[in-house]
């Protein structure tokens, strides 16, 4: 791992409302990613993982406020003026969203949408060149008859094809970082694997830093280098992927593993963690996961857990009991 990370978020906080009525949804989230690395971010919906990533790029929803530090290629971007941030978004950082149907402009041809991404960061591009580039991009994401399909509208495509368009758009300006927010969740199961394979392939070939946001730990197996588990707007466990699957330290991580269809035994009834993540707003004292945790003790309800480091130093978890017995139970 290199010493200046490609992308580093520290103590990110996102809150809704102002003053005393402000409710925090992302509560001091920190993570980092090296160039060419694949980081999985996993958590239930409502855990704040998507909100955190959008906010880091200044795409937080109206009425929300973002604090904390976001560094990209060593440069602080959280405080950048809007115009400067726009130059980075889409050029050096690409994004892919969950539902490709609602993420594509329904009244613009897909080609025009891709070419817009190109023009925005290369104003002097000629129409011909842009069309040429867009065709190449379509070929790269394996859309057949690329040139003709540029003229289609999003609703003329299937779900998988639309996601390919989104990916083509995100890598149009060969970014250094790609953030994919649940890129396969809205797709048919059969298509999911294809899209993941393609993303992984592109990541290797372009040496992209890839942030893969998902609610399904199973998706990350085989693709991610490292995994950050997010709960209540904080990273509660972070570990190399093989370490995490072998020795999950946080009860929440174990719950997510049991809840993943890919990771549980065939035929076994799928587990679901009781309860829901806490809504935006103040948390009770102690560990935010305590109310849903099957092994929470008195200390969990009173004292917020510190960030504990695994004996080998590669992993960390925010749990009073992590690595305490040397082995998880």
């Amino acid at each position: 791992m290199s010493h200046t990370p490609l992308f580093e978020v520290s103590d990110l906080r996102v809150s809704f409302g102002r003053g005393a009525a402000a409710r925090e949804a992302v509560r001091g989230l920190s993570l980092s990613l090296a160039a060419g690395e694949v980081l999985g971010i996993v958590g239930e919906s409502g855990s704040g993982k998507s909100l955190a990533m959008l906010s880091a790029l200044g795409l937080n929803p109206e009425g929300s406020e973002v604090r904390g530090s976001v560094r990209f290629q060593g440069r602080e971007i959280a405080e950048l003026p809007r115009a400067a941030l726009q130059k980075i978004r889409g050029a050096q950082i690409g994004m892919v969203f969950q539902d490709p149907l609602s993420s594509l402009n329904p009244v613009m041809r897909v080609g025009a949408q891709i070419m817009e991404a190109l023009y925005l960061h290369n104003p002097r591009l000629t129409r011909r060149e842009a069309e040429e580039r867009a065709t190449e991009l379509f070929e790269r994401v394996a859309i057949a008859q690329a040139r003709d399909r540029l003229r289609a509208f999003p609703h003329e495509f299937s779900g998988g094809m639309r996601q390919r368009v989104m990916i083509a758009m995100a890598i149009a300006n060969t970014p250094a970082l790609l953030i994919a927010d649940e890129p396969t969740t809205a797709l048919d199961v059969t298509v999911q694997a294809q899209i993941m394979e393609m993303l992984s392939d592109l990541q290797k070939r372009l040496n992209l830093g890839l942030v893969l946001i998902t609610h399904d730990l199973g998706v990350l197996a085989g693709y991610a280098d490292r995994v950050a588990v997010v709960y209540a707007g904080q990273v509660v466990e972070q570990a190399p992927v093989h370490a995490l699957f072998a020795r999950p330290a946080h009860p929440y991580t174990r719950g997510l593993m049991a809840a993943s269809a890919d990771l549980s035994q065939p035929g076994e009834a799928l587990y679901s963690i009781p309860g829901t993540p806490p809504p935006a707003g103040p948390l009770p004292p102690g560990c935010p996961f305590a109310p849903r945790c099957d092994r929470a003790g008195a200390i969990c309800r009173e004292t917020p857990p510190p960030l504990r480091r695994a004996p080998d130093g590669a992993a960390e978890a925010r749990c009073h009991f992590a690595w305490q017995d040397g082995e998880c139970r």
Binding site: R89, M95, F97, L104, N105, V107, M108, E116, L120
Partner: protein, 337 residues
């Protein structure tokens, strides 16, 4: 979709017949003595004059007979003869229709421009002072009587400040170009007289502005609501994620997605414009259907009243039909009931 359009087209003749029948029925059943509009009070006591007038204008026949005759004549484009101008009503209406259409078209362009701008501005800066001002401005437009606003602006701009011309379509001293389309702006262009074209445009400014303002409010309200909804869609985030600036996001991505409902409301606002044109034309001495209708109504000129009402109704009907069909074509997924 084709079925819907076909059904609407097939219903047209019946609706037009309905318009004719209703106009005829309402004006015939309710009216007082039409003779009052034809002959003077003094001659009302002279049975010979009365009988002659009745025979001359067909008033000695029964109502159903008159209706059938009227329908028959209408088929051949005959709307009867005006009591006042003593010319065929159809001819009068045709002569005055272009002036009204020109005024209404200009008003629609103005109203749509102002309405869309206000709506977009209000949506982008929603719940700020800008939004409240834009909404208030639009609401005032919908609340102000056009005839009063016309008077007030004519007084201010023309009399007090002298920056805009007085009533009429051209300067009184100007020579009218040969009539081709009946649109003064087009006819002056066809005549190749740019100075006169400028003059016609100049005269159009105030009446079209006054009239257009009355529909700007409705349009801006709809544009605002649609824009707010669209600005929360995910593809807007996609556009921002691409690095698009706010201006581009608003104009190219959001506004384009509100185009269909906007065009629809602009189409429907035609009715308000026709209504308002009646009053605007009166204020601005605009020689259109509206001022013709007013003088017919004041002078109890029944053939003219009936004729103008039918023509107005048919124009209105066609505009709404075109708007509805355009909406369905632009939105194939909509299933109208």
């Amino acid at each position: 979709m084709t079925g819907y359009i076909l059904r609407r087209l097939l219903a047209m003749p019946f609706l037009i017949l309905g318009i004719i029948t209703l106009t005829f029925a309402l004006t015939s059943v309710t009216r007082g003595d039409p003779l009052a509009g034809i002959i003077s009070d003094r001659q009302m006591t002279n049975p010979e004059v009365v009988a002659a007038a009745k025979a001359r204008w067909g008033l000695d026949k029964s109502l159903p007979e008159r209706y059938v005759t009227y329908l028959g004549n209408l088929m051949s484009g005959d709307m009867g003869t005006s009591f006042i101008t003593r010319r065929p009503v159809a001819q009068d209406v045709m002569a005055r229709l272009p002036a009204t259409l020109e005024l209404v078209t200009a008003a629609m362009i103005f109203g749509a421009g102002a309405g869309i701008t206000l709506g977009v501005v209000a949506a982008v800066w929603r719940n700020t002072i800008v939004d409240h001002l834009a909404r208030l401005l639009a609401l005032i437009g919908a609340s102000i009587p056009v005839f009063w606003m016309g008077l007030a602006l004519l007084y201010l701009f023309s009399v007090q400040w002298g920056v805009l011309p007085g009533p009429g379509r051209l300067d009184p001293r100007a020579t009218t170009p040969p009539q081709v389309t009946g649109f003064m702006t087009l006819d002056t262009l066809i005549a190749g007289d740019l100075r006169l074209f400028g003059n016609a445009l100049y005269h159009l400014l105030l009446p079209a502005g006054v009239l257009g303002w009355s529909v700007a409010g409705t349009i801006s309200r709809l544009v605002r609501a649609n824009m707010i909804e669209i600005l929360h869609r995910e593809f807007i985030t996609t556009a921002r994620a691409k690095g698009a600036g706010e201006l581009r996001v608003v104009l190219r991505h959001a506004l384009r997605n509100t185009l269909v409902p906007t065009l629809t409301v602009i189409g429907y606002s035609f009715a308000y414009l026709l209504t308002g044109a009646v009053l605007t034309e009166t204020i601005f001495s605009w020689p259109g259907m509206g001022s013709y209708a007013v003088s017919a109504a004041r002078g109890l000129d029944y053939p003219a009243i009936i004729g103008v009402t039918i023509v107005g109704g048919v124009i209105f009907l066609i505009t709404n039909l075109v708007t509805d069909i355009a909406y369905v074509i632009a939105n194939p997924r909509v299933r109208p009931g």
